[in-house]
């Protein structure tokens, strides 16, 4: 009995320590954003009063508004397109299963192994010929269709009852109506999971926009944050405020969709 008690206590200690380590850097970022740079480097761990000063300094020296709007525009458009196109495909591969489609699916999975640095240069040349540099379309095209998201939808389509499809067909719905009216509403948690993953990946994508967004007016939040460290002297308060602004959208999306995200992943791992 005491042995299990001790094991239990150990478990709580481990979990508490790991949780603290997980949260600490983010807490530190939050605190740093409200303090002057000098206080940050002194190791201050309590909220300060310099938040507004940091805010003014950041907005005065960097195009935060443009970068924020760009990041939202790119990430939202990419997420919408990706959800539609990948869920259509996942549904198609599973519901209309045959050998030919399965072979195509296996080939698509190989795209998971293609490293982005390898396709980056040909894509850059293609997109600069097509005048897609510095455009939203240029940002979203390479990552709309990804094997990972298609696979998630295919897995969840597996649990979609065939009786419903047959019944809907008898009721006279065509195949696309079945997809839009029956499949999408029942697969909300898969959509939520796919949405969380796609939005986060799109928002966080750094390499591709760094390659194609050449003008200051088309940069993203991660690019703006990275640019702030280019200078010789770093103002930690201002820098951490920028990091905070860059992290907030993904953290909010995660919290809002957390529950359905976990459900969606569970469906996909099955």
């Amino acid at each position: 009995m005491t042995k299990t008690k001790r094991a239990n206590a150990l478990m709580y200690v481990v979990l508490i320590i790991v949780s603290l380590i997980s949260v600490f850097p983010l807490y530190w970022m939050l605190i740093a954003a409200t303090n002057k740079s000098v206080d940050v480097t002194r190791g201050k761990l309590l909220p300060g009063t310099a938040f507004m000063d940091n805010w003014k300094a950041l907005f005065a020296n960097s195009p935060v508004q443009e970068a924020m709007i760009n990041s939202f525009k790119y990430a939202i458009l990419l997420t919408i397109c990706a959800l539609v196109i990948c869920s259509l495909a996942g549904y198609g591969f599973e519901i209309y299963y045959d050998k030919g489609k399965d072979a195509v699916f296996s080939i698509l999975l190989m795209a998971m192994m293609v490293p982005f640095v390898a396709t980056m240069i040909p894509l850059f040349r293609m997109f600069s010929d097509a005048k897609l540099l510095d455009t939203t379309l240029g940002f979203i095209l390479p990552t709309i269709s990804t094997p990972m998201i298609i696979m998630m939808f295919r897995q969840s389509a597996r649990s979609f009852p065939h009786d419903i499809i047959e019944a809907a067909r008898i009721d006279g719905l065509n195949e696309f109506q079945i997809f839009f009216r029956m499949f999408i509403p029942t697969m909300r948690s898969t959509y939520a999971a796919a949405m969380t993953i796609t939005f986060m990946n799109a928002w966080n994508n750094y390499l591709w926009p760094k390659v194609i967004m050449l003008q200051d007016t088309s940069i993203t939040m991660p690019m703006l944050v990275a640019n702030l460290t280019e200078g010789y002297v770093t103002d930690y308060g201002v820098l951490m405020l920028a990091v905070l602004l860059c992290s907030l959208p993904t953290i909010i999306v995660f919290f809002v969709l957390q529950k359905s995200f976990a459900e969606g992943i569970t469906g996909a791992v099955k």
């Binding site: 850097p25 490293p115 982005f116 690019m223 460290t229 569970t266």
Partner: protein, 301 residues
């Protein structure tokens, strides 16, 4: 006869039509992957046999591939990437497995709180966390100020200015960012295992270590394989951390392959052919490692 065959014929055409509809569902996604992934990959392969600055290219056989192995910076980047892979991926996956098993315990309180806290790092953008860690471990950063306060150091240690410690910081940062992500996959996998299996093991007197190795690991094998392949793939393509945490320094000591390829393509005088050759090597490595992992994963059955 004709009456009997008519409905059959109608049904055939119906299933054929459905089959075609199926292709319509998956064509947009398939075409996009073909154009945005496979076609550029073929282009990169052709490009890897070409030489020249910018868009002024001519064929040069296997020169680029030969050059790669004499390029000290590239060899360093290759070694660094494998170093991160060998140290970081196993530690992270084992840690994630242990945490998942702990959180799967039904009698655990505050489960949601722990899970959220541990997953939170994954909601931070890659550039953000790289910069947070850069600031924490800077000469005038938080870690140094604490070490000085407690009298462990007299002056700030330049963690990012020394090759060994800079690599350690990258590994710590990677573990911090990705452990929770892998843990979520394991937690989901564990939910598909009947909890009664664990209760039975407990009654039979199995200790946590035994349950871990005899139940959790074998039953989660497919999920472990998935996360191992994903992490290997991600680590071989490491870019944001190398660029923003250490800037590849000191003097390229922590640079990763992707970072070096980026520099060769866009930072220095663009040498697309050479960069393509190096990126093709990454592709081959990813493919080989995925193949090995799948083989190993299969054998333990």
């Amino acid at each position: 006869m004709s009456q009997a065959s008519e409905p059959k014929k109608k049904k055939m055409s119906l299933s054929k039509r459905q089959n075609l509809t199926g292709w319509a569902f998956l064509t947009p996604a398939t075409l996009m992957i073909a154009v945005m992934s496979f076609w550029p990959m073929i282009q990169a392969f052709i490009l890897s046999f070409q030489k020249g600055k910018g868009n002024n290219l001519r064929f040069a056989g296997i020169d680029n591939y030969v050059r790669m192995f004499g390029d000290k910076v590239f060899m360093t980047s290759l070694w660094n990437t494998f170093f991160y892979l060998i140290i970081q991926v196993p530690i992270m996956l084992i840690l994630a497995l242990i945490l998942a098993q702990m959180l799967n315990n039904k009698s655990l309180r505050c489960k949601g709180l722990f899970r959220t806290a541990i997953f939170l790092p994954c909601a931070t953008s890659l550039v953000s966390y790289a910069i947070i860690f850069r600031s924490l471990f800077g000469v005038d950063g938080f870690i140094n100020s604490i070490l000085i306060k407690f009298g462990i150091l007299n002056t700030g240690y330049n963690f990012l200015g020394n090759a060994g410690s800079a690599k350690a910081v990258i590994i710590i940062a990677l573990i911090w960012r990705w452990t929770g992500y892998n843990m979520v996959f394991y937690l989901s996998g564990l939910q598909n295992i009947e909890y009664s299996v664990y209760e039975a093991a407990k009654i039979d007197g199995a200790n946590p270590l035994q349950t871990f190795f005899k139940i959790t690991v074998p039953l989660l094998k497919p999920t472990i394989l998935l996360t191992a392949i994903m992490s290997t793939n991600g680590t071989l393509q490491l870019f944001d951390e190398s660029l923003n945490l250490t800037k590849g320094g000191p003097s390229n000591a922590t640079i990763t392959m992707s970072h070096y390829i980026y520099n060769v393509s866009f930072k220095y005088v663009p040498n697309f052919g050479y960069a393509a050759a190096m990126s093709f090597l990454i592709f081959i490595l990813v493919a080989i490692l995925a193949f090995i992992q799948m083989k190993v994963g299969d054998k333990r059955d």
